[in-house]
Symmetry: C2
Subunit: 352 residues, 2 copies
């Protein structure tokens, strides 16, 4: 007991990529899959599985996604998680037509706000939005931050096969920057033009396709100049940055080589090397990567204020992984940053 108390004194564990789903949204997913109107093969692969499988994995995840009370808090207590930064599970409302997506984003945010009100010491919310209507999305983000007390935005990668590099979505970036809250760019399955060979090999999901999709999305935001336009915008990537930290050197070299050779109209000179945006504007979380070598690598190349703990509940609810995260070699100050104070600073939790 003495150990346990001093342990808790040393740092609180804030888990930063934790998912929920309103029952209404899961019903609408099932209806969309049954309707024949879905044009996203990745959505069919992911939610055809989760909503149709009788496997232990799918059953547990579907149950726990819908709980924002006793089961979730018991799971947090059982694994020593003080607080969850909760966000709408992928692909959220981004798979629907604009009108459906807008009303569903409001419903999801209101449900999450109610849960935060019931458990203010345990949950903090990220705002879902409908990028299908960027002006509505910006308004909804503002409502969530100013009125509901949410502390960031969740974007579940592509919105009907479009990406935030496209300037038509930049109202969303502008709103997040103005409100001083980060955008969490969470994976989705790869968009229509990129998924086929992955899907045929069973590699479209979390094993590989998520990283392909989300890494490209984040990189294309950088190369499109989003962070030159919105220099204070903060972007959060799960899975230790979707491997982009591994590529820092090569991204700089090849971006500069392409610019010098004037190879692509899309690639224009940036104010800084690509790696500078990854080090300054991007924060990475460990979601599903509780592995010392990769965590330490990211701390080394990004700086230890930019690497945060996440569990990826309920998709990867594994008590042994919390213990493994505790045991990653780092000094006490660094460990406190990793589990607690980086999240407090990034999501502005001190005032809450």
């Amino acid at each position: 007991m003495g150990d346990s108390v001093s342990f808790i004194d040393a740092y609180r564990r804030i888990a930063t990529e934790e998912a929920f789903a309103p029952p209404e949204m899961l019903r609408m997913y099932r209806e969309l899959l049954a309707s024949g109107r879905n044009d996203d093969p990745g959505f069919m692969s992911m939610w055809g599985f989760y909503s149709g499988s009788r496997s232990e994995r799918a059953t547990f995840i579907i149950e726990r996604l819908q709980d924002l009370d006793a089961h979730r808090i018991a799971d947090m207590d059982a694994t020593g998680i003080s607080m969850q930064v909760v966000s709408l599970t992928s692909p959220g409302v981004q798979v629907f037509d604009a009108e459906t997506a807008k009303s569903l984003s409001v419903l999801a945010n209101d449900q999450l706000a109610d849960a935060v009100r019931r458990h203010p010491q345990r949950f903090v919310g990220l705002a879902a939005c409908a990028p299908q209507d960027p002006a509505h999305a910006a308004q909804e983000i503002e409502r969530c931050v100013r009125t509901l007390g949410f502390r960031g935005v969740i974007i579940n990668s592509h919105t009907r096969h479009e990406y935030l590099n496209d300037a038509k979505f930049w109202e969303i970036c502008e709103a997040a920057e103005a409100l001083d809250v980060p955008i969490y760019l969470h994976p989705n399955t790869p968009s229509r033009g990129m998924i086929q060979p992955l899907l045929e090999r069973g590699l479209d999901g979390a094993i590989y396709g998520f990283a392909v999709e989300t890494g490209m999305h984040a990189l294309s935001m950088i190369t499109a100049g989003v962070f030159d336009r919105f220099p204070k915008l903060k972007l959060v990537l799960g899975h230790l940055g979707e491997a982009l930290p591994f590529w820092l050197y090569r991204l700089d070299y090849m971006h500069q080589a392409s610019i010098r050779a004037n190879r692509y109209p899309f690639l224009k000179p940036l104010r800084q090397p690509v790696s500078a945006y990854l080090r300054e504007n991007v924060y990475v979380t460990t979601s599903g990567m509780p592995w010392a070598p990769a965590i330490r690598f990211c701390q080394e190349v990004l700086g230890d204020t930019h690497v945060l703990y996440a569990m990826d509940y309920p998709y990867q609810y594994v008590a042994a992984e919390v213990a493994a995260s505790d045991e990653v070699p780092m000094d006490a100050e660094c460990r406190r940053r990793f589990f607690q104070t980086n999240a407090e600073a990034l999501f502005g939790l001190e005032a809450h």
Copy 2:
């Protein structure tokens, strides 16, 4: 001078991913691009650029690819490279119809063999082949190894949008294993079903698309059971393993989760965790990644006998990168493995 001599005594630098192109092949690339018969948008992107651009980068690369004598050896001398492991540049013959590809692979191998005969202390060859006709490819690999003295096989990723996970190509794997030579799985632009969003953003090439394509290719070979079927087969990946080493933990977790949930018909149980094949059957080279944090990370997670030096000549001919590679922190024994003895062992160069 004294420093220089003792330096050379300590290790020889063997560069393991170095490209050439027969003039005939470059002419046929231009003809294919002009013909309107090319169905590979990545080929159009890559070779439309290299064969059409007047940029300094493209001009230098086109010139140097075709030289296997004075210019190349002068460049090696200028940067302290003792030996190049030379292979047919991407996509090699793999973009052509089967008959064209077969005859061109023989021509390319004969040209490379002539160069190796002229400069036996400086070049060793990898065998090009035409996977479009797997039986011919296996025969050509055998001819190259037994008759021409080549020490491995180059596969420039997809062959007309197909991958080596497909059992129809396994004669190639069988031949390489039987001859005890590695397959170097080199990048190509992503295949048709995966390239579109990357291409639209200028990210289909070396900056990101190469890794997406080649990482998926290697991973799909593992998950398809290629290394259960051919347990002594060795696979070489450039660019420090196309980021697969970064994903070791997650690949194991998600592969096992998919298998338990029986999610995909393509994914079947393997004899070992995915990471075990990456550690045992796979070797990685630094080509274009002369960056200490990533090199040391790979040595840590794969073992330092599985990490080799490569320059990626002539695509990345940068003297300062050789110096940077020399300065990566490692002890003398490890450094000799990295630059020299790992390559000697993997490609069987001791007897040459």
